[in-house]
């Protein structure tokens, strides 16, 4: 089979093909069995048939079909395999798979898993234990040794991680594990990229008592990562890097995404031939660039191709400066209290340790804050003043609040946006005609233009700006009388903002309104951090940030997984590890980007370690070996079906139908035999359901008395005629008009539709199944009543212990049910009074008591003719053959004489039936109704 990539597991079986000629010879001799038919006019047929020769041999095509079938089975038994792969080295007595699952392995993870699977399969065939470790996994993950099945589970559970590989730690663990397994084959499934400590890691791994090394590396590393980004004035620039071995010119597309994941810009980056680094530029307006949250490379499904940008939403450092003495003692009057509460959620607050401005301002400026809030600071000492102005001109945002000190301090052109009048203005005071002023719409030119004006805010005191020609341009918020509430001006690259009120609620209620928070947040968003701080410089500031959005191994922003830990800056710049995967840390108010690749990242290809061990090299590939045994046997079975069809056809199974129908039938039967069965069954089921629904609707549309079909037709006829007679009597005498009596089959019919089921006991009938008795039991417990009639009042023997067969059968039936304690109907039972007053309940025979559930807790009182008690007896037993007395023939005459033949006894039997039926439907209602005359009498009627 050189022309096909086909090999056989058991080539010896192919010798069986030699038997084919013998099979052919046998098949030729065996014609299909004819259909045998008796045919009287044979002699006439004989004349016709003379001319035709009778085929004693199978047709050639049938023989061919069967030969093919035999050949297929022989081939299948020889275990043919298409595309047989080479078996990996199974030398050694253990297998250690060390698999890179860092970010670079994410794009072709499936083929890596397939390769590892194959190695595990080989190990499983050889019965070797497997050590399976992942270099980007948790450092305390279980690595084995496992048996093959568990190793497969671990492999299936493993995922690529969006972090760099940590070969050194994992290799050391594997080496440790291999100390107990000398002579192992170590399979290194690398992602093709070198890491820092590779050399040491490999020497640690291979220095043990390993037997061989299987080196699996990708043929080419084609990942592209984004190493750094910068946002200068003209464009957002992103640096893309690729593996240094990747030398061909290449172009990639980059997309910029906002915080909703919408693509808002895209650009191209071109790698020149041999270049491992290139810079892409997003030339989009500054406002749009501010919305960028991430930049990613199209078509790269890995974490390094995503660069997160946190410039816009990075948490700003805000310095707070106050001169008030009341800090702590009266917190609600502290000038900074409301500012602190408002800004804490979205910014890092920096406060000076010293109240002295000349030391406090430099101390805060040393933290390089984006913004400084000064609460009612009057004069700024010269020592700090220049430094502050310099910071402001370099891009700082200074927010000042007015207050008595500021009002008294006088003008300061450099650190106030507008000229102020000396003093302050009070509105709505005791000596004033004016009212406290509300805030109007925010001016369209200011940064608050899209905020809703706070309608509930009033200002009762403020500092006033000198009216100048440019005052309107500098005003960010106005009072209703047109005086400015917030003014702002730019100073160099920075912004200077003045609130003309105090930061606490004495001058205005603005600081305790929601708008205050919104306004401060807007100002914070305008500010820019002034450089990165040294984390070590400020211990208390190094709070850890909770994971907010993580980059998955596929390069998507996802919610943080269980492994992600808060990002801590305590020990310098945090590294990208499995605990701190790349992503955003913080909250949606402000977050920090934690990016995978450092700015100086270089992707160098991994170098195969120098070792004395024998090395088998392999590449990642899917296992394409196809075991042909199953398909061949399936084909043989299909041919067998075809052969059956052909034999049927030759036997004339289809010939009575038309030719066209025959061929279509054959095709159908061939392809859809299973389907046909299923589809043929489902309508039948639907049909069945339909009819049972109809029966149920019929059963509940009228009140009907039911009887049990015993299977003995004479008893069933009497039951039916009896219940018909009772029904007729009920219609004549009472308001109840039942429908035709219904026969129920205990095994299959639903019983719940009937209030009363009459069950004549037939000793000859088979005992109902346990399931049927269970149905009856459930019916009785759910409120139905079964009237058992043994019809043996006069057939019981005379001695006390004797029982008739019917009674014995009744005992058998009842032994399978939960029967309550019974008693003969007592004289004051409600059954005796439901319609007629009945002392006893005769049927064809009289004398047998009617047994009902004993009313144990019934209350009796002397003045009540009927005992009270709840519920309806679920069971009644009589031997009087009620149905026999009720039964009428077609002409309306009784079918059976009563014993003794007393016409009154029949009337009493009907009355008993009426009482029972009314009792069924009304329960103990009558036990109350018997008092109606007395009640009416008492009411004075």
């Amino acid at each position: 089979m050189g022309f096909l990539p086909l090999s056989f597991g058991l080539p010896a079986v192919l010798i069986g093909l030699l038997a084919l000629p013998a099979i052919w010879w046998l098949l030729r001799l065996t014609p299909p069995r004819p259909q045998e038919e008796v045919f009287p006019p044979l002699r006439i047929l004989a004349r016709v048939l003379k001319s035709e020769e009778t085929p004693h041999q199978s047709p050639w095509w049938l023989t061919l079909l069967r030969l093919l079938m035999a050949a297929l089975i022989i081939f299948a038994l020889a275990e043919p395999v298409l595309n047989q792969r080479e078996t990996a080295t199974t030398s050694g007595n253990a297998l250690a798979i060390v698999m890179d699952n860092g970010w670079a392995s994410a794009p072709d993870w499936d083929v890596r898993v397939a390769t590892a699977e194959r190695l595990i399969g080989d190990a499983s065939d050889a019965g070797q234990p497997v050590v399976l470790a992942f270099t980007a996994g948790r450092s305390n993950a279980e690595i084995g040794p496992f048996d093959a099945a568990i190793a497969r589970e671990h492999l299936a559970a493993a995922k690529p991680q969006p972090v760099p590989v940590n070969r050194a730690a994992i290799y050391a663990r594997v080496a440790q594990a291999l100390e107990a397994l000398p002579g192992a084959n170590i399979a290194v499934l690398s992602d093709g990229l070198a890491s820092d400590a590779d050399e040491a890691a490999f020497s640690a791994l291979l220095s043990g008592n390993a037997a061989s090394l299987t080196w699996v590396a990708p043929t080419a590393v084609s990942v592209v990562g984004l190493a750094s980004s910068d946002n200068p004035a003209e464009a957002l620039t992103v640096t893309a890097v690729r593996a240094t071995s990747d030398a061909l010119p290449r172009q990639v597309t980059l997309g910029g995404y906002d915080n909703q994941g919408r693509r808002i810009a895209e650009t191209m980056a071109s790698f020149d031939a041999g270049a491992a680094q290139t810079v892409a530029q997003f030339r989009v307006p500054f406002e749009l660039r501010n919305d960028f949250v991430s930049v990613s490379i199209d078509g790269e499904r890995q974490a390094a191709a995503v660069r997160l940008l946190d410039e816009n939403s990075k948490r700003r450092r805000v310095g707070l400066i106050s001169q008030a003495e009341t800090e702590g003692a009266q917190p609600l009057l502290s000038p900074l209290y409301y500012i602190r509460r408002a800004m804490e959620p979205f910014s890092d607050l920096v406060e000076a340790s010293d109240a002295d401005l000349s030391t406090a301002i430099p101390e805060i400026l040393a933290q390089r804050p984006a913004m400084i809030v000064m609460a009612d600071v009057g004069t700024i000492p010269d020592a700090a003043r220049d430094e502050l102005i310099e910071w402001l001109n370099d891009g700082g945002t200074l927010v000042r609040f007015a207050g008595s000190r500021l009002a008294a301090a006088g003008n300061d052109d450099e650190l106030l946006p507008v000229r102020l009048r000396i003093g302050q203005r009070a509105l709505g005071g005791t000596l004033s005609w004016t009212e406290p002023q509300p805030v109007t719409e925010f001016p369209a030119t200011g940064p608050f233009s899209d905020l809703a004006p706070p309608s509930e805010v009033t200002v009762s005191r403020q500092v006033l700006a000198e009216p100048t020609s440019d005052l309107a341009d500098l005003t960010w918020a106005n009072l209703a009388d047109g005086t400015p509430l917030v003014t702002g001006a730019s100073r160099g690259d920075g912004t200077l903002v003045l609130f003309h009120i105090t930061p606490e609620a004495t001058w205005s209620n603005l600081p305790i309104s929601g708008s205050f928070v919104e306004m401060l947040r807007r100002i914070v968003q305008l500010s820019r951090n002034q450089g990165r701080i040294d984390a070590g410089a400020d211990g208390n500031k190094a709070a850890s940030l909770a994971p907010y959005r993580m980059i998955s191994a596929e390069g998507l922003l996802v919610p943080p997984g269980p492994d992600a830990r808060p990002l801590s800056f305590a020990d310098g710049a945090p590294a990208v590890t499995i605990e701190n995967p790349p992503g955003f840390y913080g909250t949606d108010e402000g977050f920090v980007a934690h990016n995978l690749l450092p700015a100086d990242a270089v992707l160098t290809p991994i170098v195969k370690p120098q070792t004395a061990l024998p090395i088998t090299e392999a590449t990642y590939a899917f296992d394409e070996a196809v075991d042909l045994k199953g398909p061949l046997i399936a084909l043989a079975i299909a041919l067998m079906l075809l052969d059956t069809l052909a034999v049927l056809w030759m036997g004339g199974a289809f010939a009575r139908r038309s030719r066209a129908a025959t061929s279509s039938m054959a095709v159908l039967a061939l392809s859809l035999s299973g389907l046909m069965l299923a589809s043929a069954l489902s309508p039948a089921l639907a049909q069945e359901r339909q009819t049972s629904d109809d029966a149920a609707i019929q059963a509940i549309s009228q009140t009907r008395i039911a009887y049990v079909i015993t299977g003995n037709s004479s008893i069933d006829n009497v039951s039916r005629a009896g219940l018909s007679g009772l029904t007729r009597y009920l219609i004549d005498k009472t308001a109840l008009e039942p429908g035709e009596p219904a026969g129920v089959d205990l095994e299959s019919d639903e019983l719940a539709f009937y209030p009363l089921i009459y069950w004549p006991i037939d000793p000859g009938a088979p005992l109902p199944s346990e399931q049927a008795l269970g149905h009856v039991d459930a019916y009785m417990r759910q409120g139905g009543t079964v009237l058992f009639d043994t019809r043996d009042q006069f057939s019981t023997g005379f001695d006390a212990g004797s029982t008739s067969p019917a009674t014995q059968r009744l005992r058998q039936i009842l032994s399978a049910m939960n029967v309550p304690p019974l008693e003969p109907v007592p004289a004051d039972h409600v059954l005796t009074k439901t319609f007629f007053i009945m002392p006893d309940f005769p049927g064809r025979y009289s004398g047998s008591p009617l047994w009902v559930e004993a009313s144990l807790d019934a209350q009796r009182s002397e003045d009540r003719p009927v005992r009270t008690g709840d519920g309806v007896t679920p069971i009644m037993i009589t031997a009087n053959d009620l149905a026999g007395a009720w039964a009428l023939d077609a002409s309306g005459f009784p079918m059976f004489p009563t014993v003794p033949a007393d016409p009154m006894q029949r009337v009493l039997a009907y009355r008993a039936g009426v009482n029972i039926m009314i009792y069924m439907l009304t329960g103990n209602y009558k036990s109350d109704q018997v008092h109606v005359p007395a009640l009416l009498e008492r009411l004075g009627q």
């Binding site: 259909q35 038919e37 008796v38 009287p40 002699r43 006439i44 048939l49 009778t54 010939a655």
Partner: protein, 302 residues
């Protein structure tokens, strides 16, 4: 695949006891059915309505001189001055021989048919027996009974059939005399020359025969297909056809040709030939045979 045809009841074993019980079970049913079928026909079959020799009163007529005195009805004549003679209704007894084929081939019943050919033939014959005996005809079964006149002729024949020993495959056709009728119900599947030779004795002696061919629909339409092995219930001979459906056309041709020839031969002799299929009603054939029986012998003759 289910077979198309089968032998309804195996009589081939010829076990006497089994046969008797079989007959006992079969014939009363047939008798009832025969009576039912008869009732639908009998409206056209009332007496001779003629004066003649018979048992039933027909009319009183005035005495004509020369008649024998013994015919005078004195009771009637005493009422007035005329003398009356009591006339009886003419009940010319006619002998009709009946015979139904009971050979194994008659047991054949295909899926399309309601009854086996034997059952149909017996029903037809017993129904005719019922009809004829009600009409006062003398009926007989060749080889089984002599001609008899009885109201319960059909029951008698049935009873005799039930207890009969094995009857020959073909009856002795010598007893029927000239002017008598014979009704033969069979499938007439034997080669036509044999049938003709067998019936020729009747023709020679001037017996008028009424042939009822009881045919199964499967025999006529030949619905077989595929590889089929046919076996003859009488001889046990077997024939295997590779593709039975290819034979159908030719077979039907020969089958129908046989019927045509037999029918033509009967017509020539003045006999009637009726075909009854077992998937059709028995009363159809009964009506036809009845018509042929009551028709004048001379009309049918060519």
């Amino acid at each position: 695949m289910a077979r198309i045809g089968e032998a309804a009841a195996h009589v081939a074993s010829r076990d006497a006891l089994a046969r008797a019980s079989q007959r006992a079970a079969l014939i009363p049913d047939l008798l009832v059915e025969a009576r039912r079928v008869t009732n639908t026909v009998i409206s056209g079959w009332h007496g001779r309505r003629r004066r003649g020799i018979g048992e039933n009163f027909w009319q009183f007529r005035p005495y004509v001189e020369g008649e024998t005195m013994s015919r005078i009805d004195w009771r009637r004549s005493a009422r007035d001055d005329h003398i009356y003679v009591r006339d009886q209704e003419w009940e010319a007894a006619h002998t009709v021989w009946l015979w139904a084929d009971q050979s194994p081939s008659m047991l054949y019943k295909s899926r399309a048919a309601h009854v086996s050919k034997e059952a149909r033939a017996l029903v037809l014959v017993l129904a005719l027996a019922e009809l004829l005996s009600r009409g006062g005809e003398r009926i007989a079964w060749p080889g089984l009974t002599d001609p008899m006149t009885a109201r319960n002729g059909a029951e008698r024949i049935a009873a005799r059939l039930m207890h009969a020993p094995d009857l020959p495959a073909r009856p002795n056709l010598l007893p029927p005399r000239r002017f008598s009728d014979i009704i033969l119900a069979s499938d007439f599947l034997d080669p036509i020359e044999e049938t003709k030779e067998w019936l020729d004795t009747l023709a020679q002696r001037g017996v008028r025969a009424h042939l009822i061919e009881v045919a199964d629909p499967a025999e006529e339409s030949f619905p077989y297909s595929g590889r089929t092995e046919f076996s003859d219930p009488e001889t046990g001979a077997k024939l295997t056809a590779g593709r039975a459906e290819t034979l159908a056309e030719e077979y039907r041709l020969i089958y129908n040709a046989r019927r045509e020839e037999l029918s033509a031969w009967c017509r020539k002799l003045g006999w009637s030939y009726t075909v009854n299929h077992t998937d059709r009603l028995a009363s159809e054939a009964l009506a036809k045979v009845h018509l042929a029986l009551s028709a004048d012998a001379g009309i049918g003759a060519v």
